[in-house]
């Protein structure tokens, strides 16, 4: 691939929207072309900043009531005026989790296929274990042991269950909502899995103490639509796994390191 072919694909590459062969061609070009990889780094950085800084607005309560009221009014000639409150509540709750269960199902299908295909390869045992754990956490009913958006609930929960105290910063304002924590088993030892959610995507952050912890500059590994970010800080090993865009995962790492 020539530079002229690569440049128009860079944003698609950042967003994980290229086909597998395209994505591979771009990756191998970036590995050898310094001008394109500089451009890629600049674009990735900017997209990470944008995605980290911009949040969805929350519709004001006033708007919610207005919409409800006007719908009632519009439906009035056709609809019975009495609305069964409880059944709507139920369906709303069901609907809230619906996208996540779809995502989980998708992970099961795609992730399961990938895991089966790759089990034979010995490369990157941790990568495989972390991915497997991530996928497992989504398909089962065991995403978290301690469901809480409060770091002062999640952090102390690990006391006595694990030989270190994991970092659990609150990152809501940066768009990463704390969902809870889970005890997991990776790399032959118990580890802390802190679960965050970015829009509809789940991020599992695994951490454990390691004297020879991973690289200071995060290393990104892509596997069939999943992204892993691996870094080490203060004798602690961190692995973040998710299906968010790579830029979001980088934004997560930056937010995490700044907040902890």
């Amino acid at each position: 691939m020539r530079c002229d072919d690569v440049l128009p694909l860079l944003d698609g590459y950042i967003d994980g929207e290229l086909s597998m062969p395209e994505s591979e061609s771009v990756a191998s070009h970036l590995a050898v072309c310094s001008s394109c990889s500089t451009e890629y780094a600049a674009r990735l950085e900017s997209v990470s900043v944008t995605r980290g800084a911009l949040q969805r607005d929350v519709a004001p309560d006033m708007l919610r009531s207005r919409v409800r009221a006007s719908l009632r009014e519009a439906a009035a000639p056709r609809a019975a005026p009495v609305v069964v409150e409880s059944s709507r509540r139920r369906s709303l709750v069901a609907n809230r989790w619906f996208p996540i269960s779809i995502a989980a199902l998708f992970c099961l299908v795609v992730g399961g296929g990938w895991l089966a295909a790759h089990r034979q390869s010995s490369e990157g045992a941790i990568v495989e274990e972390a991915l497997e754990s991530h996928v497992r956490s989504l398909i089962g009913e065991h995403l978290v042991d301690v469901p809480s958006s409060d770091q002062h609930t999640v952090k102390p929960w690990f006391a006595g269950k694990i030989d270190f105290s994991p970092q659990v910063p609150k990152l809501d304002s940066l768009g990463f909502v704390l969902v809870g924590g889970r005890l997991d088993y990776l790399h032959g030892r118990p580890v802390a899995a802190i679960v965050y959610q970015r829009r509809r995507h789940v991020i599992n952050l695994y951490s454990w103490p390691e004297t020879d912890a991973g690289p200071a500059t995060p290393e990104q590994i892509d596997r069939n639509g999943y992204h892993l970010l691996h870094w080490g800080r203060d004798n602690t090993e961190y692995w973040a796994v998710s299906d968010v865009a790579p830029a979001d995962l980088r934004a997560f790492e930056v937010a995490f390191e700044q907040a902890r």
Partner: protein, 179 residues
Amino acid sequence: MAATVIGAEAAGGRLEEFEAMVLPFLDDAYTLARHLTRHEFDAQDVVQEASLRAWRHFDGFRGGNPRVWLLTIVRHTAYTWLSRASHRATEALDDVGDDVIAAAAQADDALAVSEQRAVVSRALAQLPRESREIVVLRDIEDLSYQEIARVLGVPIGTVMSRLARARQRLRTILSGSER
């Protein structure tokens, strides 16, 4: 009489179904409307109108992703709304007045938890509408290229090139504001 009651109940159930399916995405709708109109109250009017439009067309909704469907309607409504509001002729031409940018920045400043957020919001508000909406759909609403293509009614290739151009513009503004 009995038939009327049954009919009314069925329609009531239909409204319930609509609300359960569509109202969870009111935040998404409001976000897009706010960035398109760059005005919080205008955005509320647009969302209310779009919700009614969606309800009227709900019988024609044949499955698919309700969020994408709602955002498509919000976008159409916002465009119609903006072109109708003749006193905002400059807005319709995407010729952004300083006061509009200042107002957007002020609104964002009030909400901003970080300096960076205010800076990026202000930069986004300065983009032409075509660029702004695609950045909002991708980087805030987190839609896939396929979904964006559906909302905008353009091919995926156009989504990719338009998004690259929009981000380039944003990057230029942001690098200017650093200096």
